[in-house]
Symmetry: C2
Subunit: 640 residues, 2 copies
């Protein structure tokens, strides 16, 4: 968490990126402590769902060593943390989904890129040193075919992607595999899910039904076969997104790829590439080819770059070409601010912070310059035709989201939300998958209204918010101001939470900021899972607390979201190895450690019987009890 590294540590990984020398970031492939990659097989050998298995040391009891079974946890880190995998970012990841897409036989290989811009970039010799060398051209739906997961779901077909996801999401089954007893599972605090359908057993059929209903999406472009499929929906685990991307003022291709491998190591479920600087196309290729998680973009950024930053010069034709260019690279979801309508723009005139969405402000400027309706809105059906040919999902942008507490829940924001609902229904007519973006800056008492309105306006399409920040007064800490709001809206039903780093409002985040943002949002998402009562979600908390209580320090660190930091913090004040079996830490020392004292009580009252208030005549008996307690060693808790 050092503020020293404005840019990655170690060797300078700057503008002089050379494709032929590109290497994966060593920090991202270092093994996670006490962890190994395991695969859960599905109904066919090519459905292998990666999990992380965290080993624990046994508990020392008077009867000997008692095993603590390894804990299986959801794993977004891809092949990077699999020592069996051979990683070469110049070749990209294995094409996990290749055969599944082949077998659907609904796509054809193109002879060349469809995008004019894409062809220009591919043929420009000056870009050769930067370029990811592809050995293939893209795929696209055969004429008349629709290749989206939604389309298959509505036909009652369970795709391999859906089965993969069911295995990934079924926490109850993972708990059982981790030798969590039925009693223990039943002990988890019941949740309050505000009307969601949180099932005991997530099945492939349930996945299909949720996708068919539009209540969940599986972002999975046919041109992103390296993807480990995942689902975004209210009735599944709450997901988080991490952002990366260069700007005109900093960062290189290598730094951006490093942020991706680093972000997924710590738990990012999807990554958005928000580059606005140089070589956006090439940067994105490197990222997608090497990403096991879905990649999202905001195509208007690159479109704006193409017109040298002059929003008025954007055209539908240029934008269309950009969509195709990006879809053929394999982008899994597009943020499109199609709800920023001309007539809504004046509603922002009296706001404290106007339009804070980059894409929203670009579209607003275009609308006013031309005095015409937003071309994303007017060409929406055509956009759907493109999306369904590649299975790119919509992330309908909240261009008019509030950028300050004062602007929260205003007319502009909700007017746009209504239009996003309208667009959702159009997209669904095309069987194109949709999720809805949300705020922003919202004080706590107004958060639930956002969730409820979105469920209603958009027919329960998944909600994907940025925080929200619950106060504006803490620049430098907006991962926290927004983590508070994100945990709440996740609990109320938000399906994915877009992370915020400490650098929000101040500058471009570096790798440390990316990690801090990710861990904060994993906390928010998991807190929401617990509050909703996802079966099995509590097992990690239980395992860690048990390790803590038993002074299995290494296990406590390893089970946490960030073992490195936990271990380093502990070692700051108690670095000796003996401290790792010490029955105390520096907070209280040996005499005062409540856990140490508590351990000494257990034997005395193992059966949990109560002690009623004793009448006088029993005082003699009590004295005898006290003597016996002292004879037995006078400790509160002893081994059973």
């Amino acid at each position: 968490m050092s503020t020293e590294s404005a840019h990655p540590k170690g060797k300078s990984r700057t503008q002089h990126f050379l494709a032929e020398k590109a290497e994966v970031d060593q920090a991202a492939i270092a093994p996670l402590p006490a962890s190994r990659k395991v695969y859960i097989e599905g109904s066919r050998p090519d459905i292998r769902v990666p999990m992380r298995e965290i080993s624990q040391s046994p508990t020392t009891t008077s009867a000997g060593l008692e095993e603590n079974p390894p804990l299986l946890v959801y794993d977004t880190s891809g092949p990077y943390t699999d020592p069996e995998a051979s990683i070469d970012i110049r070749r990209g990841l294995p094409e996990l989904r290749r055969r599944w897409i082949d077998q659907r036989d609904d796509c054809e290989w193109l002879d060349d890129l469809s995008s004019e811009y894409g062809r220009r970039r591919a043929n420009d010799p000056q870009l050769a040193p930067l370029r990811f060398e592809l050995k293939r051209t893209p795929r696209r739906a055969k004429p008349g075919r629709n290749v989206t997961q939604l389309h298959y779901a509505r036909q009652g077909i369970i795709t391999p992607e859906m089965e993969f996801i069911a295995l990934r999401e079924n926490q109850r089954r993972l708990a059982i595999r981790s030798k969590v007893s039925e009693e223990e599972l039943a002990h988890q605090h019941p949740g309050e899910s505000f009307g969601a359908s949180i099932l005991e057993d997530i099945t492939p059929e349930f996945v299909r039904a949720e996708v068919a209903r539009g209540r969940a999406i599986i972002p999975a472009n046919v041109n992103h076969p390296e993807l480990e499929p995942m689902i975004i929906g209210r009735n599944f685990l709450v997901k988080i997104n991490g952002n990366l991307g260069n700007s005109a003022l900093s960062s290189s291709i290598e730094e951006e790829v490093d942020k991706m491998t680093w972000g997924i190591r710590w738990g990012a479920d999807t990554i958005m590439d928000l580059s606005t600087g140089k070589n956006i196309h090439e940067t994105r290729e490197w990222i997608i080819r090497n990403s096991p998680v879905p990649i999202g973009t905001v195509p208007i950024y690159q479109a704006l770059e193409k017109v040298a930053g002059v929003a008025e010069n954007l055209t539908w034709e240029l934008f269309r070409d950009t969509l195709i260019e990006q879809a053929e690279q394999g982008v899994d979801y597009f943020t499109l601010h199609a709800g920023v309508l001309l007539r809504y723009v004046p509603l922002t005139a009296k706001r404290t912070t106007g339009i804070v969405s980059r894409g929203g402000s670009i579209m607003a400027k275009w609308c006013l310059a031309h005095h015409r309706e937003n071309f994303l809105y007017t060409h929406f059906d055509e956009i759907c035709e493109i999306m369904k040919a590649y299975d790119v999902s919509f992330s309908l942008g909240d261009g008019l989201r509030p950028g300050s507490i004062r602007d929260a829940n205003d007319e502009a924001q909700f007017a746009e939300l209504e239009t996003l609902g309208e667009l959702t229904r159009i997209a669904w007519k095309h069987d194109v998958q949709v999720m809805i973006e949300g705020p922003g800056h919202v004080p706590m008492q107004l958060i639930k209204e956002n969730m409820d309105k979105q469920l209603e306006c958009c027919d329960e399409a998944p909600f994907y918010t940025l925080g929200p920040l619950v106060t504006d007064i803490a620049p430098g800490y907006d991962h926290i101001t927004s983590g508070i709001g994100a945990a709440q809206i996740g609990w109320y039903g938000c399906a994915m939470l877009c992370y915020v780093t400490p650098k929000e409002h101040l500058g471009l985040p570096d790798k440390d900021d990316v990690k801090t943002g990710i861990i904060t949002y994993k906390i928010a998402a998991h807190a929401a899972d617990l509050a909703k009562g996802h079966p099995g979600a509590q097992r990690r908390d239980n395992a860690l607390s048990k390790a803590r209580f038993e002074f299995r320090w290494e296990d406590q660190f390893n089970l946490g979201l960030d073992p490195d930091t936990a271990r380093a913090f502990h070692d700051e004040t108690l670095p000796k190895d003996s401290a790792k079996v010490a029955h105390f830490c520096s907070m209280c020392g040996p005499k005062f450690c409540s856990m140490k004292i508590t351990q000494e009580v257990r034997d005395r009252f193992g059966d949990g019987s109560g002690i009623e208030a004793l009448p006088e005549e029993a005082v003699e008996g009590m004295r005898g009890q006290a003597e016996r307690f002292r004879e037995e060693g006078g400790e509160l808790y002893r081994e059973v």
Copy 2:
């Protein structure tokens, strides 16, 4: 936020503390940027309430410079940030309340310390190099008198402390002094306070009524005249507590005093000294004499030290002497685990993390060793007699709070809460002020139950929680896991939030950790104030967002909770001074900055009129509009 400094930076401030050379920490007396100390006078010249006034630069408009009035904010930093004050920690702070206590004429000066232990320490020549040199002996109530603020409140008397507090708490009046318009004030989002009584205007009479009702407390020992009075109660601003204190394994007197001056600089409303190591008595003297905020302790810690860590050897007599010793130093509130009853201890036998409260585990051990009821419970009336002689408030400890998600809201926890309710009513019979401590580790869906049960069991006595942490899985980040829960329970009615640092569960926090914990909890408390709808609370958010929108970077930093960090983060990627007037930051750069683009829209639609969808025949007219827009400069927002 560096992890390098396990101990304070700069000159070594370690065990070789010498009273005669003691100096205040320079970092704590450095002026806050763009800030000056102002005083609001009350009905008499010796009631002067300190506030921090943050200046802003003007907004540049086409009509010239538009003033942004300075913002007045609540200030806990004491005389340390008043350049007019002369600070010498060897002399302590000015005795602000001296005359008020004198005029009540309800106390007498003692000839010597009442505590046997206290006298022994005072007469021990070996301690002379460490000792704070007091020029006075303590005060105590005259025989038959009760000197608590509650006692006065119930007699219908408004003390100077109450008037001081009313001036401090009245955010609406501060807003008006900060030239916030009535319209602006009315614009704040209405809150949801779950039945609290959040008033527009906080008056001294309202303060008195809340204290009389027991719904708020003013921790203010007659032996702590240096105190700037504050109030803890549901209908006032949510407060935060910062902890400090040495342990057997680290820290010195100087480091602890530094943590206090540092903690109050960043916003701690009270400080608890949780020392368990060496020279607890002397350390505490230095802290109280130099603290403008109330000081709390857990007397059982020092009592345990006196019996060399053997809990069974604790006696009521030793403990009684410790209470008097600490009361005569000026401790403002005591945490007492009087609700850990013998018969409750077995209820913790099957818990995952047993008893995590240090004080609770010590009392549990004592109970079992002697097979007798908790002596704090059995001697409670005698304790009240001591408390009312000095006006020490109770913080009734939650010795059986849950230390893991799994243990949340269990039988042990709520059994103790019932007993705390019983003890509250006994304390109130003595007119002794009471607040109730709370958890701990609680998943989000169970937080409100805690608040509701406490309000009911304890007749709305103020609630003072530790977090709660909403998940166990992130050691190293427990300021965040608990900040999420704290914001929520603050919203539901919790009056004070005890901070948690990143080192929680891992080791003793250093100064950086203290600051991080404080800022996190200021965020949680302020988010709760906004959610409850405290009039005027939103002005700081509004001012900061306005500064942000207008690219007044320095103002944005200065208005935030941590200007240093905000400025440093910004400067990491855009350090040049020109960047401070730049209409963008490194996140997006000049072309993509949404705020920059948005600024350009304002002129066009300043009156906020809508643009309806125009029929075909108006298209010609629209083209004319577009031409005119381009002629006028083609910018979205312009100066009005």
